[in-house]
């Protein structure tokens, strides 16, 4: 690989607190040219804050920043950008109503005679995005894309810039393995050109696949910094969580138990028939039985999120019918669905989930309010009881129930949303990327929780871009493609190979060439091909990765 020891960026003693919350305390970080530096830690550890301090979004309370051999302080993101630091922030930060092409080129549009060259812009945008595996009409508003595709656009945008440092805050949280692979090859291209990359992710496999060095943050402090190669997963996790390795050892990549069996008999908890949403979902039908976890599989933009939304009637009047425990849902609206016991944890927590200016408490009880109040007056005691219970149960890291939810870290916001739904005691849970952006510890807890809820008789529909989570968590998997069901995996078929097979299967009415499922790999009986495809050269330091996923799987069973 590229031999480097050139320091590009260096922070010393960075401290930052928000209204009494110490988000960062004395953080030192050193980035080397041509290396990928992993930044990891629990939710709320301070990763995003550090990135925002470096790039001029926040002003540090203490500490120094050296960049390109000089002491610097960026007063705005644009200053940092001009200096050569390109950043993909944690939540997709693009302009939803503008076209895909416009978003890609904002601020550096090609011009001709002083005016924007729109045709060239669209042409180039189409070409660039195609290279990233996103083939869409680039004149469409960005918001019509799924979150994953939006993330790819943000990525393409960030690496277009001539930069010396590229920072990626959870770039893969909504990506499928295939997109992750695309991202990796992009990163390799960057390091080859001597660019330093900061990589934040809660998916440990990714770190081993791509990172050279690692810095672990805990409660705003650096608890470890060094070569990644020398650390095994267990050490890494125990560093992050601040717990003994022996305690951590019992947890695998996923915390789903193997005890449940599909219970296909009886009245389904949820019965969806012929769901259609204009242009997006076509005649989708499926059942979810009590105690069953049904996965919804598919590639980016397959229409999984839309299917889930269609179930609760969030997309307006579409065709199809929904029955909950045998009773048809007469009105199709989120409110009606919730009353019937069907709740949806949306994928885009920023846009569709949190109510940013309300407190943690108010966000948690938001949907449960009517049941917590008498004659329209809310009972404070009953609220507090619920809030306390869920803050503990989900280990929500907050300075208190009165903290503004938008001030929580991304992962903790996600937990608040989960709490909002769980405190309703629903019959059917529709979970769209429930562990998106959640740290390993919490992820395991959420997964265990899903298990537990299912064993208690809930029906769960699980959407996850993490195939491992999908496979291990689901009793059955319904596979979608272009908004239609293309297959269903049951029993032994519920495996990554089965998923790939279903995805490559083509319904009869389709024409055109049959697409290859993945570039390269044969359906491999060995575990974990979806996570670390063979086409990815393993990092040089790789001792753990090759066997890693296998090991983890082993421990999980």
């Amino acid at each position: 690989m590229v031999p480097t020891d050139r320091t590009v960026l260096e922070t010393a003693g960075i401290g930052k607190s928000f209204a009494g919350v110490h988000a960062l305390r004395g953080v030192d970080l050193t980035l080397h040219a041509g290396q990928v530096h992993a930044l990891i830690g629990e939710n709320g550890a301070g990763k995003s804050t550090l990135i925002k301090v470096i790039t001029g979004v926040h002003r540090p309370d203490a500490g120094r920043l050296r960049f390109g051999g000089q002491e610097r302080e960026f007063r705005s993101p644009s200053e940092a950008q001009k200096a050569g630091i390109s950043t993909i922030y944690q939540e997709v930060n693009l302009v939803p109503m503008m076209s895909v092409a416009r978003n890609l080129f904002l601020g550096r549009e090609p011009r001709r005679f002083g005016l924007l060259d729109v045709r060239r812009m669209n042409r180039e945008a189409g070409r660039v995005l195609a290279e990233y595996g996103v083939e869409v009409d680039v004149t469409r508003p960005l918001q019509t894309l799924g979150l994953g595709a939006q993330q790819m656009v943000a990525l393409a945008r960030a690496v277009q810039v001539e930069a010396r440092v590229v920072i990626m805050d959870e770039p893969t949280s909504s990506l499928e393995p295939r997109e992750v692979e695309t991202l990796f090859s992009v990163i390799r291209g960057l390091t080859a050109r001597g660019i330093a990359v900061v990589y934040v992710s809660h998916r440990l496999d990714e770190l081993y696949a791509i990172c050279d060095r690692v810095t672990v943050l805990r409660d705003g402090r650096v608890v470890h910094s060094g070569e990644l190669a020398g650390l095994d997963r267990l050490e890494l996790v125990s560093l992050m969580l601040g717990r003994e390795q022996s305690v951590v050892r019992d947890k695998g990549t996923t915390a789903f138990g193997a005890g449940r069996r599909s219970r296909a008999g009886g009245t389904p908890a949820l019965r969806a028939r012929g769901l259609s949403v204009r242009h997006r979902v076509h005649d989708v039908s499926f059942d979810v039985h009590p105690g069953e976890v049904v996965g919804l599989g598919g590639l980016l933009g397959a229409g999984r999120s839309e299917t889930a939304k269609a179930v609760v009637g969030a997309l307006g009047a579409g065709a199809g019918s929904v029955e909950v425990a045998g009773r048809p849902l007469a009105r199709r609206s989120p409110a009606a669905a919730i009353r019937a016991g069907v709740v949806l944890l949306p994928e885009d927590r920023k846009v569709e989930g949190i109510v940013p200016n309300l407190s943690v408490r108010e966000n948690i009880v938001l949907a449960a309010l009517p049941t917590l109040s008498r004659a329209g007056i809310v009972s404070r005691a009953r609220q507090d009881e619920i809030v306390d219970r869920f803050v503990q149960r989900l280990r929500i890291k907050t300075s208190g129930p009165d903290q503004k939810v938008s001030d929580l870290s991304g992962g903790n916001q996600q937990k608040v949303l989960l709490a909002r739904w769980l405190c309703l005691d629903p019959e059917v849970l529709l979970l769209d990327e429930p562990t998106r952006g959640i740290d390993v510890g919490a992820k395991a807890e959420v997964q265990a929780l899903i298990d537990e809820l299912a064993s208690d008789g809930l029906g769960v529909l699980l959407i996850s871009s993490d195939p491992e989570e999908l496979i291990e968590g689901s009793d059955r998997v319904v596979v979608l493609k272009d908004g239609a069901v293309v297959g269903e995996l049951t029993g032994e078929q519920v495996s990554e190979e089965g998923l790939l097979a279903a995805l490559s299967h083509h319904p009869a009415d389709e024409c055109g060439p049959v697409p290859e499922p993945e570039p390269g790999p044969d359906p491999d009986p060995e575990p974990g091909p979806g996570i670390v495809p063979e086409s990815v050269p393993q990092p040089a330091s790789d001792t753990a990765t090759g066997t890693d996923s296998g090991d983890e799987k082993g421990t999980a069973r």
Partner: protein, 321 residues
Amino acid sequence: MSALGLAGVVPDRDRSLRLLQQYGVYAALLVLFAVSVALDTGFLSTGNLRIQLFQVAPTLVVALGMALVIGTEGIDLSVGAVIAVSAAVIPLYIGWGLPVALVVALALGAVSGLAAGAMVAFTKVQPIVATLALMIGVRGIAELVNGDSAKPVTDSGLLSLGADGFAGVPLMAWIAAGCVALTGTLVHRTTFGRQLVAVGDNRRAARLSGLPVRRVLITVYLLSGVLAALAGALIVGHGAEADPANQGLNMELDAITAVVVGGTPLTGGRVRVLGTVAGALFMQLISAVLTQHNVHTSITQIVEAAIICFAVYASQERGTR
């Protein structure tokens, strides 16, 4: 970077900034009051204070409704016209007794509010245009209903509502205070209040969380209409005349100013009831002082503009960087 030295200081500055945001309106109000008294000690006389309460009450009542609407990220330009409708029907029904006239006026306010709410909730017309259409049309209707021109009102009940006091404080002020208490309870204690701010803060999330978004929207416009109609009755009572052509003109801007000066952001998701009271009082004091000191209209307007900017700047939320 001198940040190291600052480390201890920054949180304190943060804190005082936040305090300023929280209590800035009240501080500004106090300062202004002190200035008024310093300029003329007669300002403290009960007679003068009564006058200020008389004048602020209708604006405050309207502003409360406006604050609710603004909390949902809306705006209601029709309040002035609703005042006019209220003024138009009171003389027509006062013969049946004050209660009947009041009920009719409030009901019409509710109808107008319902129309605004329905447009906003069902057809997604932007609030500013929906209520602009009502602002024009409803005033036209008020003038049509009224037939001719301003009418004197002589009903003793209504006049006493507009001029008498209880415990030395004008009835109008008591009524406004009652509205403040109710609005405060509604916003801070009830499910509805919580839903209102959620709808204003993130409507999509509110909808996906099963909140009755439409009902909330319709209700706030309806309340705004009813409160405006009530203000109309107070204005008619205080002025002893009903003039649908002129009463309530510019009231929408006065109310919005009071709300915003009081610290409620126009972007929704937050309602400050007491702040609105302070905002209304603040604006009242400014105009009182300037009028009483016989300042020219030109200077009055310029000074008002400057003070609004200053007050809002001092009390606005500033992002902590």
